[in-house]
């Protein structure tokens, strides 16, 4: 799901939450009922509400298991070593289109974020660049063009200027 779709889901949830909470708070507020009668009905509804939220949470968790981006890199994939340092990236100039590749990402100094942006400016993939560790980011580029790279972990005074890029063809 794209981040635009996630934003859409969020707006729907937010609007529903606001409408429901405001409605239930204001609905016949002056037409009072004893607390016991409100809770008697409310606790029955709560059982269903608990069931629904538990089902959604567990279903979402199980669904996401098939989308884990941390799988071990394929042996046959081509590897590119990426070194981040204050305030630049050591990157390949060109990477191939349509084949699995692995970025082996590390840092020469502090923590950085290796964030790949598509030619249209959306986040494509990311991983942390950490000193003393190598993170393996496996991707397949399906659209050719210039991909920019931005640092996505605060690293110092020129953090916002820490950029790079490569061609996919």
């Amino acid at each position: 799901m794209s981040s635009g779709a996630v934003f859409g889901v969020f707006i729907v949830i937010a609007v529903i939450a606001i409408v429901v909470i405001v409605f239930l708070g204001n609905y016949r507020l002056r037409d009072t009922l004893p607390q016991a009668s409100v809770t008697a009905r409310g606790y029955v509804i709560r059982r269903y509400w608990l069931g629904l939220t538990l089902v959604v949470a567990i279903a979402a968790f199980i669904t996401t298991l098939s989308y884990l981006p941390y799988s071990q890199p394929r042996i046959q994939a081509r590897h590119y070593f990426v070194v981040a340092r204050q305030f630049s990236f050591g990157l390949p100039k060109v990477v191939p289109l349509g084949t699995p590749i692995v970025f082996d990402v590390t840092s020469a100094d502090v923590n950085h974020g290796f964030g790949i942006y598509t030619p249209s400016g959306n986040v494509f993939a990311q991983v942390q660049a950490m000193p003393d560790y190598v993170n393996h980011l496996q991707v397949v580029f399906t659209v050719a063009g210039h991909y920019s790279v931005r640092c996505l972990e605060y690293c110092g005074i020129a953090h916002a200027a820490m950029q790079g890029g490569f061609e996919v063809r």
Partner: protein, 489 residues
Amino acid sequence: MKPLSVTLPAIGLRVMWTYIATGLAIFLLMLLVGISMRGSQAGWWTIEPGTFYSLLSLHGIGMLTAMVVAGLGTLWYLVSRETGLDARVAYLAYAFFVAGVACVIVSIVPGHYGALWSMLYPLPFTGTYWPTWATGAWLVGTALVMLGFMIWCGQILGALLARYGGLGGVLAVDYVLHNRAFAKLDHEPPPPQIFAAAITAIDGLIAGTAGLTVGVALIVRWLDPTVAIDPLWAKNLTYLFGHTFANLTMYMAVAGIYVGLPICTRRAYHTSVPLVLAWWGTLLFVIIAYFHHLYMDFVQAESLKLVGELASFLAAIPVVVITVYGAVLLVHRSGMRWTLGSMFLFTGLIGWVVGGAAAVLDSTIPFNVDLHNTLWVPAHFHTYLLEGVVLFTLGWVFVNLEQRAGASSGALIRWLAGLGVFGGGALFVLGFYIAGAAGVPRRYAVEPPPGPYLAGIATVGAILVLVGLLVVAYEALRLARLPRSEVAP
């Protein structure tokens, strides 16, 4: 079970108002710092990157300390109504907070420290633009804040253990597992706000220990530059402390709901078995959800990421099924009047749910790939803090002021305050959300498009919040100056 001894209400109130006034004063100052940064990102004025990151460091630790101090004050008072507490310990913790804030200010103003509040080792030592002593002042300052927090946690947990007969009593284990026998013995479980205090104290001690551990390691590294620290170890402890410290602010502020809303609705908020179970869940989930901060560290075990995701999902259930749902039931058809106190407490529920929903989306692993360290992150926690914790705190303040004065505010004041704080706040966080969804990175002194345009909208929203808060402050002072009344508003 009767209280063993109870602190004099006047002493408890004095401690509470000292903490709350300090927290809200720091909050207002940090709001000005935030507006200056957002306006700079919008291009309305220029703050050069070094100063920007120093201000961002101050804003982050300042806001969290403000919310923590205000929340701890409220809880201290509420616990003091149940059992004896020594106010000197509360003031000792307060002194640690003040000393810590003073050190942080020294590190920022003359020192220009700029590694942010939750810096990841090898920051703040490598490639810095500030003197080494400023790093030391920052580390000592944040350690003092942590120590103040842990002193509070230790005092509260100790008092609750004594009052309720051990951890099982505090967590109402017999009440849940042997409910009928418990009722036959005429025992009563702790009231809801005690769970907020206990979970804050227990998780606070765990998180504080993690924070102090990495803090001491960093201080040792500051004293001896040859010392090496494992970056992944430091990152885990930093997020364990940072996530828990930030998350607990909400669970502190929710005590205002448990005690404040019943005053507004003239109904009771009782402890129930589902409520206790919800707090047991919260006790665990708040601590282990932090793994979601390390999704992008692929070297970290995959199982821990799954624990982080599941805990993040499950942490939402006690919120929406028990606390928020219970609060809405409390208000529903209660005949409650809308005053500033009840309005803030009630609208804070919305901020909690909306900010929480955004957090759950971000903690969903496939979405996090797109949202991690974008402006979506400050979007969710500003919603949670500004439209949740701050509103709960203001609500609690006004419930007390209205009750004391036997008066409340007019409709015009309520609308101005509501539109400013809630409406302006919504506009403010919307700028973050849209930019985050567009992939604009967080913590950029100069943002790529569409960041600056959205920062402009957000700055307008933040200024509206400031105007709303000035109305709120005026009204608070007006109510505080009214003579004490015995008649409820």
